[in-house]
Structures are given as structure tokens and as C-alpha cells.
């Protein structure tokens, strides 16, 4: 099913990606071609098949709930765009 301009804008919003008006047509075309490539899969009957998420089907390892990390906030915040007293600064979120 071809994607229209509204679809592109909805997907872009979900992905938090700014899309300019003059980019929409390009995205429609490119995503349309990629989805065309992908539709070959739809024809395959896969009803009873169990999806494979991990290639070796090994579950994620668990560990004891113990503190193993130390506070390195100062170090990590050296490369932050804007901080103040240990907080990361962003434009106002709550009015």
C-alpha cells in the first residue's frame, strides 16, 4: 500500500525526526520502493512458525540485583550540551 504525505508525517513524528515539506515526496518514493522490496515476504505462509528473535535462541543472561557501578555523572556530563548542578538542561517540558 503506497504511503501518502500524512503517513510520512505520522511516521516521522513517531521517530521524532523533523521532515521538511519538500522532503516528503522523496520519502514517499524511497520508502515506497523499500516496502515494495519487502512485500515478497507477505506471500509466504508462515502461520505455525515461531518467530526467531535471537539467532542462537539464547535468552538474556540475568545477574544478582547488586550495585556494581559507581557514580560517574561528573565524567559523563563533561560531554553534555547543557548541564547545571548535575542536571541535563532541555527546553521547558511542562507549562
Amino acid at each position: 500500500m503506497p504511503l501518502d504525505g500524512t503517513d510520512i508525517k505520522s511516521i516521522a513524528w513517531l521517530a521524532r525526526l523533523a521532515v521538511l515539506e519538500d522532503e516528503i515526496a522523496d520519502y514517499q518514493r524511497e520508502l515506497g520502493t523499500i516496502l515494495g522490496l519487502v512485500t515478497q515476504m507477505q506471500a509466504i505462509e508462515t502461520g505455525a512458525i515461531v518467530p526467531l528473535a535471537h539467532p542462537l535462541e539464547i535468552n538474556a543472561r540475568l545477574r544478582q540485583d547488586e550495585i556494581t557501578e559507581s557514580d560517574q555523572r561528573y565524567k559523563y556530563q563533561q560531554i553534555a550540551p547543557e548541564t547545571d548542578q548535575g542536571y541535563y538542561l532541555v527546553p521547558r517540558v511542562i507549562e
Binding site: 525526526l17 559523563y76 563533561q78
Partner: protein, 484 residues
């Protein structure tokens, strides 16, 4: 000096015929002369390299060294390196000075290797040509109008041109093997879970795997020994008995059962590539192997399945780049949404945004079952094809790529054509199987790669077969004109 393999250089260092400092200076000098044309490095680290080289020389002097001590290496710029810019080929991380080392870098540092720099790559590892890099494409030393492949194109180009004897790469859909094939070097993608992904910037977490890119199988085995190992910081890291990947290099080929999938030899395969592969397979037959036709019936579905699963996982992994804690932030954001949307819209390149959009779409409500879940079921079918085939044969051989290196800009406007060129490589990632690409001849003046796929944890066997082939042929010793 640069004509030597890692193994040869190791012997020379141990015999004190050369020092690590001399060796490092030699490669640093070559890099400054040739990098402007090849653009294989994003960041070079000459001061760090010389410091590490001097420490290596001291260790060799006291005989406290290992097989890799003092040997230069380059790291794909996807591995976080403490105190050094780690860009992942993207404007989004152009200002990112990593506060820690990836486990792969920690391990190779501990082995005494000398880091020459961070190599160029497709942005966030998304690409097959290194053309999506924010820093411009790397070029192929065999023909500077052509791509070196991708996404580990900088590593491929640097090793082929002998600007460094070996490098690290990562492979999600072929990104070690394809540039190895296009650049005429050896590249191995290990079994999923063998090499830690901690500090290896994530693209598609169920597919990504780091591995060696080097001149020979022996060199690749030496590097792999140091790269593999359980890491508690990576929840997908496997805890297995350590293995010496150099131990079985000299095992005989006799009795080897080689599977040739009929799906890999269609009309779309470049004729000269097909001839090289047929000749390569014949070499294994002469060495005592036997050829068997096999069937991998779902091969054609591997591209659609990959181009759903990989972008889906990427859309999740790349959601961390939000302009808040590190990386690119847009100027004067009007509000929080503007901060996120414009930082990401401006910080990411076109291919990355395309893939995030596809990934977001296939995971969204109403489409998840039809696309993502369906792709995961297809993934099981592809994996089962290999399991079935590997009961009948020991390894599967075929071309790594359908054609040799293409021209710069040739496929850039047609993403789907670029995607289709991954047809022989993506299945190994979907199934988690190890696979190696080795130089197997030339199509005109351009290298052709032979791919060998094995069962889980068969790296020693793959390296053994590659080494035996390299004892009988000399493709892997060829150096592009102007770099020898």
C-alpha cells in the same frame, strides 16, 4: 615493512629486527601520505600510537610480551575509544569524545597493540559503500573512482593499501565481508555472541558482530584470539571455553564436504566473479575436498527479512540520540519536541533517516504482525535452511558479492539496488553463523572475494580452510599499484 603480514611482523619484533616505534612511525608516515586520496581514516591517533609503541618496545625488551604486542591496528570508528572522538561516521557524533573504551579496544590494548586511528565507515554502519559517511567516502585503493565497500570500508581500504597491517570491523549484513571482498583482503564475521558488543555502537543488536580484517587467515586468527571472550557487560556475550584459532590452521582439507547453493549462481552474478569462484572451489577439490550441490530455498527472502529486521532494531537503537546528554544538538530549540526532531533531523544523514522511518513503520501498531513478526518467522526459515544444509556438508561456499567494486555515486540514488548487492552476506547474520571472505582472484583489475560459511563456532575450521587456500594461491599477497 608494510609488505609483511601481522604474523611476519610479530616474528621480526620478537627477534628485535625492528622496533614497534620504527614500525609505527613507518605506518603513520604512509597514512599521512595516502589518506588524502583514500580517506580511510576519520581520526588518526599518532601521539597515542607512539606512546603505545614505546611501551610495547619496553615489554618486548623484558620478554613480557604476547604475539600481538607492538603491532599496529586501526579501529572502525564504531568502537568507543576513551578520550578520542568516536563519530560512527555521523554528524550526530562528530563532537562525541567517548568516556570509555569498547571491550574490543580494551582487549586489543591489553594485548599490546598500537592504535593508529579510527577508520571511516557508512553512517551508523548503514550502507555497503562507505558513501553515507558524514566525512565523505573512503575510496578503493585498487581504483580510486570506486567504492571500497561498506560499512567497514575505511578498514578495508586501509589494510588493502597497507596503511596498517590489520583492522577491526563490524558486520550486521555483510559489513566486514563485503569490503574485504571489494578490497582484496580477508575478513571474518564470527558466530553471534563471540565478540563483545559493549562499546560497539549499536545498529541492529541481534545481527551486529565485530571481527578482524587482515591480509591473511593467519593474521585474522591472531586478532580473533584477542577479540573473542565472555564479557559481563554484554548480555548477549557467550561464555565458552577459550579456543586458540591459530591451532588448526595447518589441518588438511582432505575429506571436506563443500556445499554450493544453486541459488548463489543465477544470471545476476557477474561472469568474471563466477569464474573466480569456480576456480577457487576447484582448488579445494584438488586439495581433497568434494563438491555437493545444496539448496537454500529461502535465499531470496533474506533481503526483505533483513531490510525489515535491521531497520526496526536500528530505529530502537538510534532513539537514544536526542540532543540531551551527548552528541549533536540543534540551535535554539523552540520546545522539547523541536529539540528532539531537529537534533535528529539535522544530525542524521539521509540513509539513516530512511532506515529509521522504515523501522518505525514496520514496528508501528497495525503493521507489526505483517512486517516485523513475519520477518522474524522468515528468519527462522532461513536459519533452518542452513541447519539442514550443514547436516549434509561441512561448509558452504560462494561469491561474497554479486559483482566487484562499483563506481562512486553509481548506486547512491537507488537504495534498493544497493540493498540487493547484500544477497550473499545477510543470511549469515540472520542465522548468526560465522562466515569469512578471502581474496580469490580478479575481475579485470578488481578483487573478487570467496565466502565460506560454517556452522556455529566453526571459526577454526573456516580459518584453516582459508589458510590452506592461501598456501596454494597468492591472491592475498597482491598489493594495489602505488601502495607497494
Amino acid at each position: 615493512m608494510h609488505r609483511h603480514t601481522l604474523a611476519e611482523l610479530s616474528r621480526l619484533l620478537n627477534a628485535r629486527k625492528i622496533s614497534s616505534e620504527e614500525l609505527t612511525s613507518h605506518y603513520l608516515d604512509r597514512t599521512s601520505r595516502h589518506n588524502p586520496l583514500l580517506n580511510c581514516y576519520i581520526t588518526t591517533t599518532p601521539e597515542l600510537a607512539l606512546q603505545q609503541a614505546r611501551a610495547a618496545d619496553r615489554s618486548i625488551g623484558k620478554a613480557t610480551n604476547g604475539p600481538l604486542t607492538g603491532l599496529p591496528v586501526a579501529h572502525k570508528d564504531i568502537f568507543c575509544m576513551d578520550g578520542i572522538r568516536t563519530s560512527c561516521g555521523s554528524k550526530m557524533l562528530d563532537n562525541f569524545i567517548s568516556p570509555y573504551n569498547a571491550t574490543v579496544i580494551e582487549k586489543l590494548n591489553a594485548a599490546g597493540m598500537v592504535t593508529l586511528g579510527k577508520t571511516n565507515m557508512d553512517e551508523f554502519a548503514m550502507g555497503s559503500s562507505t558513501e553515507t559517511s558524514y566525512y565523505g567516502p573512503a575510496t578503493n585503493p585498487w581504483d580510486s573512482n570506486r567504492v571500497p565497500g561498506g560499512s567497514s570500508g575505511g578498514s578495508g581500504s586501509a589494510v588493502a593499501a597497507r596503511l596498517v597491517p590489520a583492522a577491526t570491523g563490524t558486520d550486521t549484513g555483510g559489513s566486514i565481508r563485503q569490503p574485504a571482498a571489494l578490497c582484496g583482503i580477508t575478513g571474518l564475521k564470527p558466530t553471534y555472541g563471540l565478540v563483545s558488543r559493549y562499546g560497539m555502537i549499536a545498529f541492529a543488536s541481534s545481527l551486529d558482530q565485530g571481527g578482524p580484517m587482515a591480509q591473511t587467515a593467519e593474521d585474522s586468527a591472531m586478532l580473533l584470539n584477542a577479540m573473542v571472550g565472555f564479557d559481563k557487560n554484554d548480555s548477549t556475550s557467550l561464555d565458552r571455553q577459550p579456543e586458540d584459532y591459530t591451532a588448526k590452521l595447518n589441518n588438511p582439507v582432505t575429506g571436506l564436504k563443500i556445499g554450493i547453493p544453486k541459488q548463489y549462481f543465477s544470471d545476476n552474478l557477474d561472469q568474471q566473479t563466477a569464474t573466480c569462484i569456480q576456480n577457487a572451489v576447484r582448488e579445494f577439490e584438488l586439495a581433497g575436498g568434494s563438491i555437493h550441490d545444496i539448496d537454500l530455498p529461502n535465499t531470496h527472502l533474506s533481503i526483505p527479512a533483513y531490510y525489515v529486521i535491521a531497520p526496526a532494531e536500528a530505529s530502537s537503537n538510534l532513539s537514544r540520540y536526542d540532543g540531551v546528554r551527548f552528541g549533536y544538538r540543534c540551535d535554539n530549540p523552540a520546545d522539547i519536541s523541536d529539540l528532539y526532531c531537529r537534533s535528529r533531523g539535522e544530525g542524521f544523514g539521509k540513509e539513516v533517516k530512511r532506515r529509521i522511518m522504515i523501522g518505525t513503520y514496520v514496528l508501528s501498531a497495525g503493521y507489526y504482525d505483517a512486517y516485523y513478526l513475519q520477518a522474524q518467522k522468515i528468519r527462522r526459515l532461513i536459519r533452518d535452511d542452513f541447519q539442514h544444509a550443514l547436516k549434509q556438508v561441512d561448509v558452504i561456499m560462494g561469491p561474497t558479492t554479486p559483482m566487484p567494486a562499483f563506481q562512486l555515486n553509481e548506486l547512491l540514488d537507488d537504495p534498493v539496488s544497493m540493498y540487493l548487492s547484500d544477497i550473499f552476506t545477510v543470511s549469515a547474520n540472520l542465522a548468526g553463523l560465522p562466515a569469512i571472505s578471502i581474496p580469490a582472484g580478479f575481475a579485470g583489475s578488481l578483487p573478487v572475494g570467496l565466502q565460506i560459511i560454517g556452522d556455529y563456532f566453526s571459526e577454526s575450521r573456516l580459518l584453516n580452510l582459508a589458510h590452506q587456500y592461501q598456501q596454494r594461491t597468492d591472491w592475498h599477497t597482491r598489493i594495489p599499484g602505488g601502495f607497494d
